[in-house]
């Protein structure tokens, strides 16, 4: 009905193109950060939680001076306890930590290729595969024995593949491999260097801290000397992505909110200025029979269009960017394969933070 006045809106936009584009870009950045912060943190959280649950991530791990009677201790602490073999093998350039595959806990997830089937099969983490210049199907010599790399793997207790428990960054060339226990035991160097670690996951998922303390006391009372005791919460190999997510949330939200507030202030100033500059014309149109609501709509049109354009572009940009960014592990499609948590992806996901 007020079509002639609408024609004016486009002309106003065109006249001050530069100013409006600037404001739209500001809103764009704000909405980009906002959707990035909520979206990435949310999908990472889904991936991490999903992987930890599906693959029975341990609640704690420890080693002892003498072997445990697992069945006994499982009953005692109402938990699943599993022993696994661990052995580090040196390579010309790098080092591979071989783990025996978990049967009940820390289930290895094959992310490409085949599962272990025959003696001499080994799975390695995707980053290691890449840095060693290997392909699935290649032969890898470990400690003088020939292994076949049958696929890539992700392990719940090495989401972030740190060599030492208290390392800050992954060691260059260090990788994780999964091989049958018999194959690891058969390695010449394994006899003296391989070690057994215990992983625990409590049946009751609620009071984990209390159950952990109780188990530790019981072990002490029974005369075990416990070494390398670490709970998942403090285990960087497990909790690194959590810190990553929460820092993403805690850093990105203030940034998004700052942009949002700034956008509001600018749009507010813009409306006030337009209405002030145009008050005589608005008054004349009012005198000639325009309703207050019709005039308000007219003066809101430009800021609304500019803000809408900016926020839509920001959201769109974020969608396109995230598609490229998480292509190998979009949470809804492929992220049932936890290959997302290769070191590379995690390091990259860190860099999606606005601060870097």
């Amino acid at each position: 009905m007020v079509s002639a006045l609408n024609r004016r809106i486009w002309r106003m936009l065109r006249e001050h193109m530069g100013r409006y584009v600037g404001i739209a870009i500001l809103v764009l950045l704000g909405s980009f950060y906002f959707t990035a912060a909520t979206g990435v943190a949310g999908s990472m959280e889904r991936m991490v939680v999903g992987f930890a649950d599906r693959n029975q991530q341990e609640d704690l791990t420890f080693t002892t001076d003498k072997p445990l009677d697992i069945a006994d201790w499982e009953r005692e602490s109402s938990a699943t306890i599993e022993a696994s073999l661990r052995h580090d093998v040196r390579l010309p350039k790098g080092e591979l930590r071989l783990l025996s595959p978990g049967a009940e806990l820390n289930l290895a997830q094959v992310t490409s290729g085949q599962a272990l089937a025959n003696p001499g099969d080994v799975l390695v983490d995707p980053h290691f595969l890449q840095t060693q210049g290997l392909k699935v199907g290649d032969v890898l010599t470990l400690d003088g024995r020939t292994f076949t790399v049958v696929g890539t793997v992700a392990v719940p207790n090495y989401v972030y593949p740190l060599k030492g428990l208290y390392d800050v960054l992954p060691t260059a060339g260090f990788g994780i491999g999964v091989a049958a226990q018999a194959d690891i035991e058969a390695l010449p160097s394994a006899t003296e260097a391989a070690s057994t670690t215990y992983s625990v996951r409590f049946h009751d998922r609620d009071r984990i801290e209390a159950q952990t303390a109780a188990l530790r006391n019981l072990l002490g009372d029974d005369g075990y000397r416990v070494t390398e005791w670490i709970e998942a919460e403090h285990n960087q190999r497990i909790s690194m992505p959590w810190g990553n997510i929460s820092s993403m949330q805690s850093m990105s939200f203030p940034v998004a909110i700052a942009f949002f507030v700034l956008g509001c202030v600018i749009v507010g100033v813009m409306i006030t200025r337009t209405v002030k500059a145009d008050s005589i014309i608005a008054g004349s149109l009012y005198a000639l029979g325009y309703r207050r609501a019709e005039l308000t709509r007219h003066y809101l049109a430009v800021p609304v269009l500019v803000t809408l354009a900016g926020s839509l572009a920001g959201t769109l940009w974020r969608c396109l960017a995230s598609r490229r960014w998480s292509a190998p592990c979009s949470p809804r499609t492929t992220c049932r394969t936890p290959g997302c948590f290769s070191r590379r992806t995690i390091l990259r996901s860190r860099c999606s933070r606005p601060s870097c």
Partner: protein, 231 residues
């Protein structure tokens, strides 16, 4: 009487209250031209804004064509303005980024039975300037567009607040002649404010205002054509 104002009261300000209208009254017959004369600050614009329904009086009554404007609700007042009143201002107040034709269209868009935009443009003598923007028109031409914009909805009452206040003599004459023609051709009742006494000769009724009151009202049956007015 087409327009009847009586006992109008209006004050501005809280605290120190300044009375602007003090029992103002006037009457104007249908299809006539009335001119309000008076020094600056005497309350002419205030009176006109109340008659036009964009301001409200504190007391007194305004009747237009038998309808008591002073009793209308805000919504009814808006309908009254929309359907019955045309406004013309000293500084034209055209929308700067719309052409002459579009400025007229802005008002025809909210009118129930508007006149044709081209007809109105011809009537004000600007048929060839339809696509010009206000800044590309002279002051007199802009005021003609403003007149066209006001009459496109064929209002019963045309209110002009110092329509020639910003124009030179020759141009003023043309604009006033145009208003006389609108009055004659469309039968629009016109109430015009001016502080130029010479203009009074072109009106049927002249009201002299001072300190918020109409001191004197005179009526002529044969007003002088604007072209013959001497300043």
């Amino acid at each position: 009487m087409f327009l009847a104002v009586s006992g109008l009261q209006k004050s501005y300000g809280t605290g120190i209250v300044t009375p602007v209208l003090r029992g103002t009254g006037l009457e104007l017959a249908r299809q006539r031209i009335g001119v309000i004369l008076g020094p600056s600050g005497s309350g002419k614009s205030t009176l006109m804004n109340i008659i036009g329904g964009i301001d409200r009086a504190d007391g007194g009554t305004v009747e237009v064509d038998g309808e008591r404007i002073s009793d209308l609700t805000d919504d009814q007042l808006l309908e009254y303005r929309r359907a019955s009143v045309g406004f013309i201002f000293q500084f034209y107040n055209l929308v700067p980024n719309l052409t002459a034709g579009e400025n007229i269209e802005v008002v025809s868009n909210i009118s129930e039975k508007p006149l044709k935009i081209d007809d109105v443009l011809s009537a004000v003598g600007l048929a060839d300037k339809k696509n010009r923007f206000p800044l590309e028109l002279s002051g007199g031409e802009q005021q003609r567009v403003a007149i066209a914009r006001a009459i496109v909805k064929s209002p019963r009452l045309l209110l002009c607040d110092e329509p020639t206040g910003a124009l030179d003599l020759e141009t003023s004459r043309g604009v006033l002649a145009l208003l006389q023609r609108v009055n004659a051709e469309f039968g629009t009742t016109i109430l015009m404010i001016t502080h130029n006494a010479a203009i009074a000769d072109m009106a049927h009724s002249v009201y002299r205002m001072r300190d918020g009151q109409v001191e004197e009202a005179t009526h002529h049956d044969q007003p002088v054509p604007a072209e013959r007015i001497q300043w």
